[in-house]
């Protein structure tokens, strides 16, 4: 099937404004009659729930943590982009749009990206009004830094805790609506099913993580804003609870999964240190503003103390290969370059999977106190984890799974192919194409939540009768029974392996075979291993405890069960996409100097997969992509 993204046509500069005018409205008195479920209260869901509640809709919101303030958006460090052009360095809405389309390696829908760039400026204003303490200069004006893939300074930040401050802003707006009783918050709930009635999304089933009860909720529309899925790699920069569960379960109810093979491996993470590790820690990309990346030129120098290696024996490979962007080359490119150096035997650290990020030049230029002021908390975190002082000795970094560009397919309204099911933030596929630029995810989450969904959902609401289907409908009961059945099944296996062991096994297959570089052979190997691990899981996993209680092993078990299915669709997507683009690098498709080679003739489309049963080949639907404003071109950062 050919999918229609329903993007407005005509001049892109006015596309969102024209479209906003064309959409239907719901009058204030009627809004009260509608109920909207918002699953996930990170930046995207928190902003959406607060804004929709304020507009007058009845909102019920859900998250798995004990408070909306703890969503993983909290961990974002570096910053958020906007086209304010405060430094007058040549930025504009058009340039942010252009950079994002190009950065995504021409695999995103132009109109969606335009809208994102356009509303980016409103986001900064909104956050300032909420009391977000962005960094300021001595005159009291907002300060900016640079991020990868851009030659302007457009990134706003709050020390190394930008995500925390933005999330606390959204949380405060949400708290205000909870107080006003327009939003009802259900924390410690995990959505385990989407209720679809006659092809339309009408509710969810969740587990109350404290009591173990399976509950169902109805709504006239359901919004998923449940974050990213890179924990499929086991080790990643995501939080322990991040999962594909919500979007995967929606996918099993008919929602299409778009571009699941587009995953971002972030170049600057603390290298893995042993096999007992549970997660990887990011060192913000902003560090590349002042840090220089290098490895020894000679393999025999790799064990030397880095400070003993003279400048002429160091290979500042990003500066060498990409002179115009240097250390600020985009993430996919910087990650692959790091892998290349290590594959070439010039990696550093115990495992030899590491490269240096060196601040010496900057410390000499601006002094250590200035560097500490910019990134102090990151240096502290680095030292806690590695026991090394990053001011005195270059940090060691290595790429790690970080972000999912892919996600549920949505049209221009952020609505999936299931009417009434909307998807926001990292959980959808929309604006980042095959590679996301730094500081653009926070922008997208808040754009979707504050400035897109409040408009686009009205168009849908105007077409449905409020409260027509409630949890009296038999589908709700069935959904609850299905979830109970699955939980009982998980608890009854009582095998020999722990959930953690099996997750590690899956993760190592995904990292080796479906990670930074993918080949036909590696992908086929993964497609053989994933079902084997899945089978072993359902025969031999040991989930302790009972269903009617707080049971964290059970939570981990269903998340892994979903990853074990999701991994297969992700690998299938990677195998079918016979080109390299952004974060998806197929070794068969590269230029002589190892750069990604796109195939626009055959793959200039969004690949959206329809689930057909576990272990059954999913069906591919395509949404062709047109580039009318940014010309399709080889993406070069040289």
């Amino acid at each position: 099937m050919i999918l229609d993204g329903k993007a407005p046509t005509g001049p892109i500069e006015t596309s969102w404004d024209r479209h906003r005018f064309d959409m239907k409205l719901v009058n204030p008195a009627n809004k009260r009659k509608y109920k909207i479920l918002v699953v996930g209260t990170g930046l995207a869901g928190g902003a959406a729930a607060a804004s929709l509640g304020e507009l007058g809709y009845n909102v019920e919101a859900f998250c798995y943590q004990d408070s909306p303030r703890r969503a993983h958006s909290i961990a974002a460090q570096g910053g958020i982009n906007a086209a304010k052009n405060y430094p007058s360095d040549g930025d504009s809405v058009y340039r942010l749009f252009y950079d994002t389309v190009k950065g995504g390696d021409f695999r995103a829908r132009e109109a969606d990206v335009w809208r994102l760039a356009q509303v980016s400026n409103n986001i900064i204003d909104q956050c300032v009004a909420q009391g977000v303490p962005f960094a300021r200069d001595y005159a009291g004006y907002l300060d900016n830094r640079s991020f990868g893939g851009a030659q302007v300074s457009r990134t706003f930040y709050a020390r190394g805790q930008t995500g925390q401050q933005l999330l606390l802003g959204a949380y405060s707006a949400l708290s205000r609506q909870i107080k006003n009783k327009t939003v009802k918050m259900f924390a410690r709930r995990e959505m385990l099913d989407l209720v679809v009635v006659d092809g339309v999304a009408k509710g969810i089933a969740c587990r109350n993580l404290i009591t173990g009860e399976i509950e169902s909720y109805w709504g006239d529309a359901v919004i998923l804003a449940t974050g990213g899925f890179v924990n499929v790699f086991y080790l990643s920069t995501n939080a322990m609870g991040c999962s594909a569960t919500a979007i995967w379960r929606a996918s099993k109810k008919g929602a299409y999964m778009a571009n699941p093979c587009y995953t971002q491996i972030h170049p600057t993470c603390i290298p893995q240190h042993g096999d007992k590790q549970s997660k990887l820690t990011l060192m913000s990309e902003s560090l590349r503003n002042d840090g220089r990346v290098w490895v020894p030129k000679k393999a025999e120098d790799c064990d030397k103390h880095p400070n003993d290696i003279p400048a002429e024996d160091r290979d500042y490979y990003l500066e060498r290969k990409y002179p115009s962007f240097g250390n600020l080359a985009p993430r996919d490119i910087a990650s692959r370059a790091a892998k290349e150096q290590c594959d070439d035997g010039r990696g550093v650290g115990d495992t030899k999977r590491g490269v240096y990020l060196d601040f010496k030049t900057s410390i000499e230029r601006v002094g250590q106190p200035m560097i500490a002021q910019r990134y102090g908390n990151l240096f502290e975190m680095y030292e806690k984890i590695t026991d090394e002082n990053g001011y005195e000795r270059p940090m060691r970094i290595y790429p790690a799974p970080h972000y999912s560009m892919g996600g549920l397919w949505v049209d221009y309204h952020c609505m999936s192919n299931i009417p009434g099911l909307f998807v926001l933030g990292e959980a959808n596929f929309s604006v980042h194409g095959a590679n996301r630029l730094g500081a653009s995810a926070l922008m997208q989450g808040l754009a979707d939540g504050y400035f897109v969904i409040p408009y686009t959902i009205a168009q849908y609401m105007a077409s449905v009768k409020p409260g027509e289907i409630t949890d009296e409908h038999p589908e709700f009961k069935k959904s609850v029974e299905d979830v109970k059945g699955e939980i009982n099944k998980l608890l009854s296996i009582k095998g020999k392996k722990t959930v953690g062991e099996l997750h590690r096994e899956l993760g190592s297959v995904m990292w080796e075979d479906v990670g930074m570089a993918r080949s036909e052979a590696s992908l086929k190997h993964a497609l053989q291993r994933i079902p084997e691990i899945r089978e072993e899981f359902w025969k031999n996993v040991n989930v302790t405890g009972e269903s009617g209680e707080l049971n964290q092993q059970l939570e981990n078990a269903w998340r892994l069960a979903d990853f074990l299915e999701f991994a297969e669709i992700m690998t299938t997507d990677a195998l079918h996409r016979e080109e390299s683009c952004g974060g998806h690098f197929r070794t068969e498709h590269q230029t002589d100097d190892g750069e990604a080679m796109r195939d626009d003739e055959n793959f200039c489309y969004v690949g959206a997969w329809e689930f057909k049963g576990a272990g059954v080949k999913p069906e591919l639907h395509k949404e062709p992509l047109k580039f009318e404003n940014v010309k399709l071109a080889v993406r070069s950062y040289k």
Binding site: A50, S51, E54, Q65, D66, S67, R69, R70, H72, I74, A75, K84, Y86, I124, D125, Q126, C127, V128, A129, Q130, G131, P133, R136, G140, L142, A158, R159, Q161, Q164, Q165, S172, A173, S175, I178, K179, M185, A187, I210, M240, H273, K276, Q277, S278, K279, T281, E380, M381, K384, I385, D387, Y450, P454, T498, G500, N542, T544, E549, L550, Q552, Q553
Partner: protein, 251 residues
């Protein structure tokens, strides 16, 4: 290294809890405290026992989910560190370690080391925000904010809402937590219009939720993984006094 753990185990909110003893063997100094507990849990699962339940999520010291009292100190003895960032190199072979949940009237235990902290959300809901609408706000540079003021607000805003300050306080007071938000917003031009109302509402909510009064022990600052300063409590007190005085409008 090998360690002996004494861990608080409690089946549910109503159940009686007690300390159970476990051995943690071959612990690597590079592991985090939670990774060490993961391994203890793996052993428990393998021997058919219920693993220890504890809250955690980001494991990078920012979400505020992890919450354990280690050897009598919230988040353990290392300064400015959450449990998830506490590394085993801080311990020695043969150590005995006591692991308990946050203890406070306003934080009922749900299971083992997990407590209910919804009272903290309730304080925020009482007024920890500016009442701006989505959209319709001025440009972010309309009100210049002197850098020292922005920095002061940020120092306060760093709170991760974990509740260690309350667990450390002999009165189980939530004063540091509340004052951080009051101070952040009172310092900024965007928060000033509602400052009087906010400080009253939030201090009332704090008492209504069952937290105690502040009697200046300052254990909170010492326990805070983000080093939030008690100077914000003084600021809250000043703001509170201000709110009691008649305003220039004669309210």
């Amino acid at each position: 290294m090998n360690l002996t753990l004494h861990v608080w185990r409690q089946k549910g909110p109503q159940a009686k809890g007690k300390l159970e003893t476990y051995q943690a063997k071959n612990v690597s100094p590079d592991q985090s405290f939670l990774e060490m507990l993961d391994e203890v849990n793996d052993d428990l699962i393998k021997s058919g026992k219920d693993p220890i339940a504890f809250d955690h999520d980001c494991r990078e010291g920012i979400c505020g989910m992890c919450s354990q009292v280690i050897n009598g100190r919230p988040h353990g003895h290392e300064e400015r560190t959450t449990v998830c960032q506490l590394h085993m190199r801080q311990f020695n072979d043969g150590d005995e370690i006591f692991v308990e949940p946050w203890r406070a009237k306003a934080f009922p235990i749900q299971k083992d080391l997990i407590v209910d902290r919804s009272s903290l959300d309730a304080i925020m809901q009482s007024g920890g925000y500016t009442s701006c609408h989505t959209g319709g706000v001025p440009d972010g540079n309309t009100f210049p904010i002197p850098k020292p003021v922005a920095d002061y607000a940020m120092d306060a805003a760093e709170c991760i809402g974990c509740g260690a300050c309350i667990a450390a306080c002999p009165n189980s007071s939530a004063m540091l937590y509340t004052s951080a938000k009051v101070a952040q917003l009172a310092a900024l031009p965007q928060g000033k219009p509602e400052a009087r109302k906010r400080v009253k509402a939030m201090t009332e909510a704090l008492l209504a939720e069952g937290f105690g009064n502040c009697t200046n022990h300052y254990e909170c600052e010492a326990a805070c993984p983000k080093g939030i300063s008690v100077k914000f409590i003084a600021k809250l007190n000043r703001e509170y006094l201000k709110s009691m005085m008649p305003s220039s409008l004669g309210e």
